[in-house]
């Protein structure tokens, strides 16, 4: 009889196309390749493929479940670059999302439009991308997000301050043992900041049982049935929140349809309703604290001095800035902020922001073992070095465009 808070992440980056020294300074698109005079848009191919395998079937299933079970509710977070690509490549995804929002059983969360690491580098750019995202969500769905989730659930005390100042009711992040110190992750926490923000923490084990382990035959609990899973949930009390946060692509893409993942989810929802678990959405839980400061003060504090995330075993930032390739790429993109903003040029701003998407840096990760395998699975490139070379070439071209535009602007 616990409270179940489900949130699924929808995101697709604009991956960089191969970019050679011979293509510099020709005003070529960084994300769409060409071959024999024809456009060759791998991002479109990938989006349509994932839409067929995951987005469309899972959104339809969620819609069915929402209609059948008025008590079923959940949250979605869609990056701005995801929504853009959905509009361009597979508008049915937008239709289904709109229908889901109309049921009022689905909450849309806030995030940075470009699924970026701006929260770590530039508070103004961060605020700008959050506002841009809100605007798109309002346009498409007619709702205004009130709860924030940062790229890859990246969180620290510093970031909580930024999010609080933007007026959000609360935030989602990862439960990391080194900061949790043995306290249950199933309660609400407050940020360890002057003006605290209520926080919900991901239940990593129960989330990853579905997201990562579901089809793993070497896992001792395989095969995972909805009976077994809901039985585990039954161990939690009515005051506890089980926060199941995962990639939307878990359903149909990371776990293919033939693993039985869709059926599992349907039965999981039905059984959960049957066993009296309450589905809640983040704003239902967090918003009341905005008017009840006394209750907020009483929450235990989650003190995170060094940024955490939901990635890899260490739940830190090394997936994006753990080696010199990543660090230098990040230095270059954020060093350009002032110059790019000064040009006030739409296409420069858009490319600059698309190049901030965290995936570009994730692809440059060279970690070994299990983490490395996960990175490899998610990377469109043959190697982290290929990812770096593409970024480096595009960065050279981009710097030249900025320089040129700056020179143009300074001549009367």
């Amino acid at each position: 009889m616990a409270k179940l808070c489900l949130y699924f992440q929808l995101h697709q980056p604009y991956r960089l196309r191969p970019f050679s020294v011979f293509e510099l300074n020709q005003e070529l698109n960084y994300f769409v390749d060409h071959e024999h005079g024809q456009l060759k848009d791998d991002n479109g191919l990938i989006f349509r493929k994932v839409a067929t395998k995951s987005y469309i079937p899972m959104l339809r299933l969620l819609l069915d479940l929402a209609v059948e079970h008025p008590l079923f509710s959940f949250a979605l977070s869609c990056s701005g670059v995801f929504l853009e690509q959905a509009q361009a490549y597979q508008p049915e995804v937008i239709d289904l999302l709109q229908k889901l929002v109309e049921t009022k059983q689905v909450e849309i969360l806030s995030e940075t439009y470009y699924h970026s690491l701006a929260s770590l580098y530039s508070p103004t750019e961060f605020a700008g991308q959050v506002a841009q995202h809100t605007q798109l969500v309002e346009e498409l769905f007619g709702v205004t997000p009130t709860v924030f989730r940062n790229t890859e659930l990246i969180y620290s005390n510093e970031i909580a301050i930024q999010v609080q100042q933007l007026g959000f009711a609360g935030m989602l992040t990862e439960a990391v043992d080194r900061y949790l110190g043995g306290r249950p992750r199933t309660q609400i926490f407050k940020s360890y900041t002057q003006e605290p923000l209520p926080i919900m923490l991901k239940h990593a084990q129960l989330s990853d049982d579905v997201a990562f382990r579901f089809s793993n035959k070497a896992w001792e609990e395989h095969p995972l049935t909805s009976e077994k899973y809901v039985h585990w949930l039954n161990n939690y009390g009515s005051e506890e929140f089980i926060n199941l946060f995962m990639d939307f692509e878990t359903f149909g893409e990371h776990q293919w349809e033939d693993t039985g993942i869709f059926n599992f989810f349907r039965h999981f929802v039905e059984r959960s309703v049957q066993f009296d678990h309450h589905f809640v959405t983040p704003s239902q839980v967090l918003q009341p604290f905005q008017t009840n400061l006394a209750a907020l003060e009483k929450l235990p504090a989650y003190d995170v001095p060094v940024p955490i995330s939901w990635a890899d075993i260490d739940r830190d930032l090394t997936a994006w800035r753990g080696n010199s390739l990543q660090n230098d790429a990040l230095r270059l993109i954020y060093d350009l902020e002032k110059d790019v903003l000064a040009t006030n040029d739409e296409s420069l701003l858009q490319d600059w922001r698309r190049m901030q998407t965290s995936d570009h840096f994730y692809y440059m990760c060279v970690k070994w073992s299990a983490d490395g395998d996960v990175h490899k699975y998610f990377s469109p490139y043959d190697s982290p070095f290929e990812a770096y070379n593409r970024y480096s070439a595009v960065m050279i071209d981009f710097q030249d465009r900025v320089r040129e535009m700056t020179a143009k602007g300074s001549t009367p």
């Binding site: 020294v21 011979f22 510099l24 300074n25 010199s324 230098d328 480096s392 050279i396 030249d400």
Partner: protein, 411 residues
Amino acid sequence: MRDAQHRVFMVGWEYPPHNSGGLGVACEGLTHALADNNAHIYFTLPYRFSSVVDHMNVITCQTASDDPVLLGMPPFLAYTPSLPGPAVFSTKDSLELSSLPQSEIEQRVNYYADQVLGVGKDLRRKYDIIHAHDWMAFPAAMKLQEKVNKPFIAHVHSTEMDRIPSGRGSHYIAHTEYLGMQRADRVIAVSNFTKRILVTKYNVDPKKIDVVHNGVTPASRLPSDQLQFATKRPMVVFMGRLTAQKGAEYFLQLASAVVNLIPDALFVVAGHGDQYHSLLFQSAYQQLSASVLFTGFMRDHQRDALLSRADVFVMPSLSEPFGLVALEAAQRQVPVIVSTNSGVKEMLQHALQSDFWDVSKMANQIKELIQNQDYRQQVIAGQNTDLEQTTWNNAAGKVSDIYSKLLDKKN
């Protein structure tokens, strides 16, 4: 027609288009010019060769492998001693295989020697001289010389002392080089720089060594659309294998120094090798990600286009027996900076020189070449006069003389 026709049995290792570097290119240039000088050449290769060559007889000395991926593949890795090459063996003679040395490249070289010996014995009446290119060909040439008793020329394009500058190279390879040169009737070195190494490190009698500098084939004209590419940034190019020998690490240090003087300078590293990953990390660590571009290995038009577009070409090798690519850059009207530890500087006397480690000197040379057009034109004009002498015809003339002297002595 001068002299009698020279009939030569050449033991090669690679040949364009399947070549990993300068050795194949040099063999192509030299054999063409020798054929023009009325030489008849048998040329052996350790892999199946499908291209059409009509100036000599190319002989494949390798039984077909069962692995189709390896067919037609040259043993590229001969110059990368740390990596074993792909093994393509007939496994018929297991007794002989079991007695072979451990590393695969060594096994390959010995297997090749036996194949060449078979062919060379059959053709013994059709040639007068054995001419072998670098250590991979020496065991074959030595075995053959023993059997057919004809003069043997060891042609040294590069040594283990060059390839592994630390001096901790393969003992087997260095020893093969030593033996080959001891047993050879004459030794050809591609430069005085190399001759010095042969004398001081391999104890070869200097009187036995002739220096024959490589030539360079006249550059083909590029279609004009291939010249239009690329950046407005000043561009400095490195082209070579990414191994310690070629000094790419110094090229990165150089980039770092030049970017301080010319912030938008672009450095292009064209090549592949065992230092590739380490160089990427170093480049990023030195905050050069938007100043240095790694293009991987380039050939043909891409290579020509890149060289043509370069504003400066730098060859910071720790030890470079010749350095053909510097001539190719000079041909494309690009000012060149060559390592003082190189053979090509003996031909390209108007190119700029620097010690490979003298980063600040090279940085100032680059700055001057990029910012002072008069100086730049002066260097290019000087290089062009150097190039007039640097022909394969000149090289072949010298080789022909060596052939003639050897045969006169014998008769």
